[in-house]
Amino acid sequence: MNEIVLLLAAAIASGTPLVLAGLGLLVNEKAGVVNLGAEGMMLIAAVAGFATAFGTGSEMLALGAGALAGATAAAVFGLLVIGLNANQYAAGLALSLFGGGFSAFVGIGYVGRKLGDPAASLTGSIGHWLADLPVIGPLLFGQHPIVWLSLALTAAVAWLLYRTRAGLVLRAIGESPESAHALGYPVRLIRFAAVVTGGALCGVAGACLSVVYAPMWVEGLVAGRGWIALALTTFATWRPGRVLLGAWLFGGVTLLQFHLQAQGVAIASQLLAMLPYLATIVVLALISRNPAWIRANMPASLGRPFHAD
């Protein structure tokens, strides 16, 4: 029983970076821009965050540095695709490749280093008496503050998108930038803001991986989570709640396969390592089969550049 609770708590913790990145990309895509550079932005932010944590010892500063790095990378992407109408897919792929190379280069000196405080892992850092409560203790109160942040953010994004006029404008721009322009909304500016916001959240997710979750630096530390976050937003039919559940599912299966490896199950570890990616995609593809849902939620202008007449 207790083991299951701990496992669930750990699943939530390990899914949290995906929640952050997925929500960022969701905001991004709801404005009609696809940023395939998620992996690259997360890697750049991860190394920036790690370097900051290594230098200052402050986790908060490190997450902030990650957000800044992600936002900067996204701003460059935004200038290319929104300012210069470059192809979004090509520019995104380029950003991913660039991020991989750049982070590896900058991070050479940090390879294999660990952050000093091993207690700064995702679980058990509040260290509060509440964390000792049965079941909900580890699930809720034993979590790192970033888990709380991700929960609050999910609610905030859902509220913003579906309950406020600002969110409506964002969705309208993702739906038909031409019509939004005709109504007098600054399409390019809002798209740019959404791209930078998406980048910042991907950045926090990247820094969270290297500073809180790992907490160490190796080349390619993000290990495809940027791509999973992209798939997650799509298969979650751009609904914040589903992004959250999908991310936790990914986290859960990741832990499960570690568990199975540790138990010495007679399956090749490479196959087990595939499991979280496979399971997440399969489950999300199954729940997003409803075409009416996709039609109602998919930003119709996704990936299309906007030319003012």
């Binding site: 969705r171 309208a172 739906e175 019509s179 109504l183 007098g184 109602a296 119709a300």
Partner: protein, 527 residues
């Protein structure tokens, strides 16, 4: 605006004054030195065929296109309309011909986006309902736009423009999809708005409406003003002369004795196109060879489901009777569009771009959608055959296009419609189902399309025309049925179909006794 003198047309300072407006596009002068004056409280018509430059001119007034030369004055002051937001700030509102609604958002959300800040969504929804009730523009504020028909979308556009309390309202072909009573209602609304001091620019090619509604009329042809007249003092012939230079020949219809039953639908029920779409309830109809059956009705009353069921886009499900739809002697309820086409049923959909034609592909490639001439052995394309077919259609139906390779979206609405209708007529169908044959099409093209439909009937084909343009149905059809709330009225010979009667039936009020007779008559096998 409150001064009584300001509300009279021709008062010293026009609300809107255009001088020498010129706008080039590559290869064309869309607007060439256009002058236009609209007084406060005036209903001013802009008359012209498609391609005459009306749309460009309206976009310039609405700030989404900037002129190359010329001045725009607003209340006498020169203004630079650099963006739609600036035009809106001056009080210029526009109802677009190509709708600018957001598909996935609800009606209320769409309207809300067009209003200034500071109002809640709930209050916007209430205002939409109130406005819908008072102006005969009923639409459900909560329903998503993608579930609405063309006519309903136009209502949303009009409501959105009206809620902004405009000082100049631009309407682009607003009546094409309204029922006769609703047109009267709309005109009453527009007259009331004008009396309140709002100026109205009414873009149309419908001469009767312009003569009934508008104070003055500026006529455009090929980007130039060909006349500024008082429409009430003109005849349709003289207006049409200004607009196209010549008058289209009147339609001639010969008497053809109807032959065997070609297409019949018996007690068909079907779910709506979407959750919000109108379902079909016990729909029955028959079309014989050599006759045209018209389906009248206000959009959103089940036309979409009926057309999908007839074309084969949606088939009768396993619980239904596949013989509910018969094509000659074949039960076709479960056959798709391709199989039905092989049996001789061709279909012209309402949406030209995206359904009737692939926008980015050339006309030659677009023949492939319903024709097999361009497909060779083993599924290889035969470019020469496609080009030849497209060229033949261009010549036979007078499609104005650069050539067979022109992209479908580069054609004007009327020309593309001539091509699509032509593509189906050229296939010599035994049954042709046509939706909105001349929606948004100019007078010349509309006359040609209608004449071709009549000619097809004379060659012995069975035609079913679904249209929201009652005048069109009355000139084309032998019989009419009215669709209302997913049910179909009994059939009415065209001689008995007065607009008043059809209008009454459009609200679902047809005599039940007649219906029982018709239901019995609709089942020849039962006799």
């Amino acid at each position: 605006m409150s001064e009584p003198t300001a509300a009279r047309p021709g008062s010293p300072t026009p609300r809107l004054q255009l001088e020498g407006i010129t706008r080039h596009y590559p290869g064309v002068k869309a607007n060439d030195g256009i002058d236009l004056h609209v007084a406060a409280g005036e209903i001013h018509a802009v008359l012209g065929e498609n391609g005459a430059g009306k749309s460009t001119l309206m976009k310039i007034i609405h700030g989404s296109v900037r002129p190359d030369a010329g001045t725009v004055r607003w209340d006498g002051e020169p203004v630079q309309l650099a963006s739609p937001a600036m035009a809106q700030a001056l009080g210029i509102s526009m109802v677009y011909q190509h709708f600018s609604l957001f598909e996935t958002l609800s009606v209320a959300e769409n309207v809300w986006l067009g209003l200034p800040r500071g109002e809640t969504l709930a209050s916007v929804a209430r205002r939409i309902e109130a406005m819908g009730a008072s102006y005969d523009l009923a639409v459900d504020p909560g329903s998503p736009v993608h579930a609405l028909s063309v006519g309903e979308r136009q209502r949303v556009e009009i409501i959105r423009a009206l809620l902004g309390a405009p000082r100049l309202l631009i309407l682009d072909e607003p009546t094409s999809v309204l029922a006769p009573q609703a047109i009267d209602g709309l005109f009453a609304t527009l007259r009331r708005l004008a009396a309140e001091g709002c100026s109205i620019l009414y873009v149309s090619h419908k001469l009767d409406e312009i003569r009934a509604l508008c104070d003055r009329c500026t006529v455009l042809r090929a980007g130039r003003v060909t006349g500024e007249v008082v429409p009430a003092r003109e005849t349709p012939a003289s207006l049409s002369q200004l607009m196209i230079g010549t008058e289209p020949p009147p339609l001639t219809r010969t008497n053809v004795a109807p032959g065997q039953v070609a297409l019949s639908v018996h007690a068909l029920s079907m779910q709506g196109e979407t959750v919000h779409g109108t379902p079909l309830e016990q729909v029955s109809l028959q079309v014989r060879t050599g006759e045209i059956l018209g389906i009248a009705g206000v959009s959103g009353n089940g036309q979409q489901a009926l057309l999908a069921a007839l074309s084969g886009e949606r088939t009768v499900d396993r619980t239904g009777d596949r013989a509910a739809i018969r094509l000659f002697d074949h039960p076709v309820g479960r056959l798709g569009p391709r199989e039905r086409r092989r049996l001789g049923l061709h279909f012209v959909p309402e949406e030209r771009l995206g359904r009737g034609a692939v926008p980015a592909l050339g006309l030659d490639r677009n023949t492939l959608l319903t024709r097999d001439e361009g497909v060779g052995r083993g599924g290889c394309l035969r470019p020469d055959a496609m080009r030849a077919l497209a060229q033949r259609l261009i010549e036979r139906f007078g499609v104005r296009a650069e050539g067979p390779a022109s992209a479908a979206r580069s054609l004007s609405g009327g020309n593309l419609q001539k091509f699509i209708v032509g593509r189906e007529i050229d296939a010599a169908p035994r049954v042709l189902v046509v939706a909105q044959p001349t929606w948004g099409v100019d007078v010349g093209a509309a006359a040609l399309i209608r004449a071709e439909l009549l000619a097809l009937r004379e060659r012995g084909a069975a035609l079913l025309v679904v249209s929201e343009d009652l005048d069109e149905l009355l000139t084309l059809c032998d019989r009419l049925q009215v669709i209302a709330r997913g049910r179909l009225s009994p059939s009415l010979p065209i001689a008995d179909a007065s607009p008043a009667r059809i209008g009454e039936w459009m609200s679902g009020l047809w005599p039940q006794a007649v219906m029982a007779d018709a239901a019995a008559g609709a089942v020849p096998a039962a006799r």
